[in-house]
């Protein structure tokens, strides 16, 4: 390929020290990461973290104020034309024409990708088939369910057979079943060798799909690594439970200070406590239960679980990614 992208052997996506300000809002302060070809990077962060801004810079929609980014060796600012040949984007909102059918939507994208009439038609057919939309192909997209619209949007981003795909919160707003469906589709896609950059507020989603996770908060990368490595930073399992009466939850939390491998965490919304056990292990479980029992508290819905990325987030930032966790994923 032309330019510095010729015989590119480096990472599919390379981002260094990106900074971007909108008026007084510092959307990105310092974001750097790399994505190896054929792997999935999960860009994880709460509302306003800077995920969309990062994706918009990488997809040539916004110019960074500082720093540099390349896609397959092509600079997103100076070689935007080349970059656009290589990427696909499914943005945060579904960019679908409601009044047109799924087939028409995809065919138009194909024409705009300069596939030519026949190839655009064939490509639309293939993608409809693949995304389970063949039966609904000739119905207006308006009549599609949320999950189908998301799949159609994803299909549209694939019309040009991109080498690097960007999905900005692909499953936000979907019910758990549609989310799992879409995860399946994304996994298949990745198995085919596409490099994927995926943003999500769902900690489980990054865990389920990503090879590497970059955690952003307030425009800064606060952690990066495999989901497993991140979990190891929290260390060990987490004890989770509710107490009866629920009104004494705070009291319970105070009782458990110093028992685990970190302070107990109170989730007032769900009325649950979680205690990182870490190296304290089973001894901590016993100690915790004894203390609660002595205080006359009954334990309800006790669970021992592997630390989630939610716990990682808490450890890293000191605050919970509250708004970031979909209620339907909470149990």
């Amino acid at each position: 390929m032309a330019g510095s992208g010729a015989d590119h052997n480096g990472p599919a996506v390379a981002v260094s020290s990106l900074g971007k300000r909108f008026g007084t809002v510092e959307a990105l302060r310092d974001v750097s990461f790399e994505v190896a070809r054929g792997t999935v990077l999960g860009l994880l962060g709460p509302n306003g973290a800077g995920k969309t801004t990062t994706v918009r810079i990488l997809t040539t929609l916004v110019r960074p104020d500082r720093g540099q980014a390349t896609i397959e060796g092509f600079d997103v600012v100076r070689q935007a034309g080349e970059v656009r040949e290589l990427i696909g984007l499914a943005g945060q909102s579904t960019a679908i024409q409601d009044e047109l059918t799924g087939r028409e939507n995809l065919e138009i994208i194909g024409r705009l990708a300069h596939l030519g009439r026949r190839r655009a038609r064939a490509r639309a057919e293939e993608l409809l088939e693949r995304f389970g939309l063949a039966e609904a192909a000739d119905r207006r997209a308006r009549t599609y369910s949320g999950g189908m619209q998301r799949r159609l949007d994803l299909a549209a981003s694939l019309v040009g057979a991109p080498a690097v795909l960007f999905l900005d919160e692909p499953t936000t707003g979907l019910d758990p079943k549609s989310r799992l469906d879409l995860w399946g589709v994304i996994r298949e896609l990745v198995a085919g060798g596409t490099t994927l950059v995926l943003t999500t507020q769902y900690l489980e989603e990054a865990d389920a799909l990503a090879d590497e996770v970059v955690v952003v908060d307030h425009g800064t990368v606060i952690a990066a690594g495999t989901p497993e490595a991140l979990k190891d930073r929290v260390g060990g399992a987490v004890l989770e439970f509710a107490v009866v009466p629920a009104a004494r939850l705070t009291e319970a939390a105070e009782l458990l200070i110093g028992v685990g491998d970190g302070p107990p965490v109170l989730d007032e919304q769900e009325a649950r406590l979680s205690l990182p056990l870490g190296r304290a292990g089973t001894a901590a479980v016993v100690a915790a239960l004894r203390r609660l029992d002595e205080a006359g508290l009954t334990i309800d819905g006790l669970a021992l679980r592997r630390p989630s990325l939610d716990d990682v987030f808490l450890t890293l930032t000191g605050h919970r990614a509250e708004q970031a966790v979909g209620p339907e994923l909470r149990r």
Partner: protein
């Protein structure tokens, strides 16, 4: 050649997975670029027109409103408005309504572009190797078709309520062409508004308001001479009056040359200012 791996094997990518793609836009002459840009624009024109055929109520309403104006002014206000023009008030009114409707038709341009930005459609297009001009040009071409259809329906209704051309067929065609050109010029302003505001609801609320003073404080419905002096100064010299006077001259006769020149200069001025502004807003969207 590139080390890009084969991807998407289940789908057989239509592009070869390695090597420079024969895509336009790079290393191609300006003529080829222009052809590609026109092709992209026409694809979007077809899309916009397809959408209209799916939403018949939209087309209906965009015609019903001006038809209502024709009927209201012809039968309700018309009797109270005195003009000296061959054929009476209906001949005065029709070119005015044609001009006003052409301007009002731009509202949906602003709405549609704001919606496309808000929904992320523009993001998708801008991240593709397609012409930057296509969204705007494609929309304007479709608007040209829509305007022509609207103008012809409006003329038919006007004829039904008594309007008659007092000039030749050449002038009549000229009138429709000028009305469409005027409507398109206003569409570039509306396009800029839609692309700059980027919020469908805000555009829905404010997208039309600026056109009310411009079209009503003009010679569209009443002679400018009937307005108070301070208002006349504005009414006489603003582009809507100038274009409508020219439309009227083309319909029922009158001094063509002066208004014709002025109209052309105004339209060129509007397009010359607002197309670059709209393009800039699109790039920043």
């Amino acid at each position: 050649m590139s080390a890009t791996p084969v991807r998407d094997p289940g789908l057989r990518p239509p592009r070869p997975p390695a090597g420079p793609s024969p895509r336009p836009g790079q290393r191609s002459g300006p003529l080829r670029r222009l052809r590609v840009a026109l092709g992209d624009a026409l694809t979007l024109t077809r899309r916009d027109m397809l959408v209209w055929t799916r939403v018949p109520t939209f087309v209906l309403f965009s015609v019903i409103q001006p038809v209502m104006f024709v009927l209201l002014f012809r039968y309700v206000f018309g009797g109270a408005i005195h003009v000296r023009i061959p054929g009476g008030y209906v001949n005065y009114l029709t070119p005015g309504i044609i001009g006003q409707s052409a301007a009002f038709a731009s509202f949906s341009t602003a709405l549609a572009l704001a919606r496309e930005i808000q929904r992320g459609v523009v993001d998708r297009f801008r991240a593709m190797p397609m012409a930057r001009s296509a969204v705007l040009v494609g929309r304007l071409l479709a608007d040209g078709v829509r305007l022509t259809v609207t103008m012809l329906i409006l003329l038919a209704v006007s004829v039904a309520v008594g309007f008659r051309f007092r000039t030749g067929p050449g002038d009549a065609i000229g009138m429709v062409a000028l009305a469409v050109a005027f409507g398109l010029a206003i569409c570039t302003v509306a396009g800029f508004i839609g692309l700059a505001i980027r919020d469908e609801e805000a555009v829905g609320t404010f997208g039309l308001i600026w056109l009310f003073p411009l079209t009503f404080v003009s010679s569209a419905f009443v002679p400018v001479q009937s307005m108070p002096g301070w208002l006349q100064a504005f009414a006489k010299n603003q582009p809507v009056t100038i274009v409508i006077d020219e439309l009227r001259a083309l319909a029922v006769g009158g001094p063509l040359v002066l208004h014709g020149w002025e109209s052309a200069v105004w339209l060129a001025g509007i397009v010359g200012v607002f197309v670059p502004l709209a393009v800039r807003a699109y790039r920043r969207a």
